[in-house]
């Protein structure tokens, strides 16, 4: 069983029984798409809500909208349509409790909103979400049973 590490602005795929993990999410959001029938899953670690250059961007995993499109395209190449997928989300924290200034204000909430909107546009069902608050998170997805384990330094772990 392999552990596939997903870095900032990346998205990766794993097949059953492998696991996907991404560390230290703050305002970033981890988006997990999972097909229970085939055991295929993909995880993205997105930093920003939407791209201004659309699908021409060189790092689609950086933005919620382009990451989801890229993941769905690759799922499609494996014969998996959006209707067969379940999504889980975590991250989107406000690390400085509303006190940050300038363009990164409410970036976590905007990331979550853009993720939900894009998934909705493609008809992907959101099965679970653990987002917001003021805490960092590490997210680990198990392709075998579809569970998402979210760990924090202060508040322990939750299983979605």
């Amino acid at each position: 069983m392999d552990l596939v590490v997903v870095g900032i602005s990346e998205y990766k795929f794993a097949d059953k029984p492998d696991r996907l993990i991404t560390y230290g999410l703050g305002s970033c959001v981890a988006i997990i798409l999972h097909c229970r029938n085939s055991g295929v899953a993909s995880m993205a670690h997105v930093m920003l809500p939407m791209s201004f250059t659309g699908d021409k961007i060189s790092t689609p995993g950086k933005f919620a909208d382009t990451a989801i499109v890229a993941m769905l395209k690759e799922m499609d190449g494996r014969g998996i349509g959006p209707g067969s997928l379940e999504a889980k989300l975590t991250g989107g924290a406000d690390m400085f409790a509303g006190k940050i200034k300038g363009m990164s204000r409410r970036i976590g909430a905007r990331n979550v909103l853009a993720t939900r909107k894009t998934l909705g546009n493609y008809g992907v069902k959101i099965l679970a979400q653990e987002t917001g608050g003021n805490t960092g998170r590490t997210a680990e997805f198990h392709t075998e049973d579809g569970s998402l384990i979210v760990r924090t330094l202060r508040e322990g772990k939750v299983v979605l």
Partner: protein, 208 residues
């Protein structure tokens, strides 16, 4: 909701060196203020300038999920933005030894307050240099401290940089006592507005 850059922003290696000189002036002022505050002799190195890919920045603090301490110093006035200082968990402990030599029983409250004030002095000194050189009004707001995973604390400022580029400019300072036995690494990440001002200040410095 689209994250469109507000301006084209590009830094050459000469710009980054010049920004380092603005950081050095701030560090000299901050070292004097810290020495006065602690009634000891505290040294602050010239900043080591690093341009890193976004994914590499958390490695300066031990990795994405390594426990770290962040001090955010927002500013407002003619320009609104942020400066972020970070210490690894061990670095924060070393900083307390530097600020309270021989005192092993520092309370959590005092620890937070001392680390916040150190960040405030260093970032405030840089804000003052920028303000003087660019002739813009900049007012530093009270510092906000956060203890959490390094990657999580960095996220908002990495996102600011990420909306323009895939690289981040970082300034690494070393605080030390007089004989250099206690050495503390401080990582300073200028928010995008702060970096633009540092560049403007550096240009003024170069042209006299």
């Amino acid at each position: 909701m689209t994250d469109t850059p507000t301006t084209d922003f590009f830094l050459t290696s000469e710009d980054i060196d010049a920004i380092g000189r603005v950081g050095s002036i701030g560090a000299r002022h901050a070292a004097r203020a810290l020495s006065r505050l602690t009634a000891t002799s505290i040294r602050l190195s010239k900043p080591e300038m690093k341009t890193l890919s976004i994914g590499e920045v958390p490695d300066l603090l031990g990795g994405m999920d390594a426990p770290a301490m962040g001090v955010l110093i927002p500013f407002h006035g003619d320009v609104v933005g942020n400066t972020l200082l970070l210490y690894s968990d061990d670095g924060a402990k070393e900083l307390l030894k530097l600020l309270f030599p021989g005192d092993d029983e520092v309370t959590e409250e005092l620890k937070d307050s001392a680390i916040a004030e150190t960040g405030n002095i260093l970032a405030g000194a840089i804000h003052t240099v920028m303000s003087r050189l660019t002739e813009r009004i900049l007012i530093s707001l009270p510092p906000i401290t956060v203890q959490d995973m390094a990657g999580a604390i960095l996220d908002p400022l990495l996102a600011e940089a990420g909306s323009y580029t895939d690289e981040v400019v970082t300034l690494v300072f070393h605080l030390s006592d007089e004989d250099g036995t206690c050495l503390v690494k401080t990582v300073l990440i200028p928010g995008i507005e702060c970096l633009q001002l540092m560049q403007e200040a550096a240009n003024r410095l170069e042209t006299g």
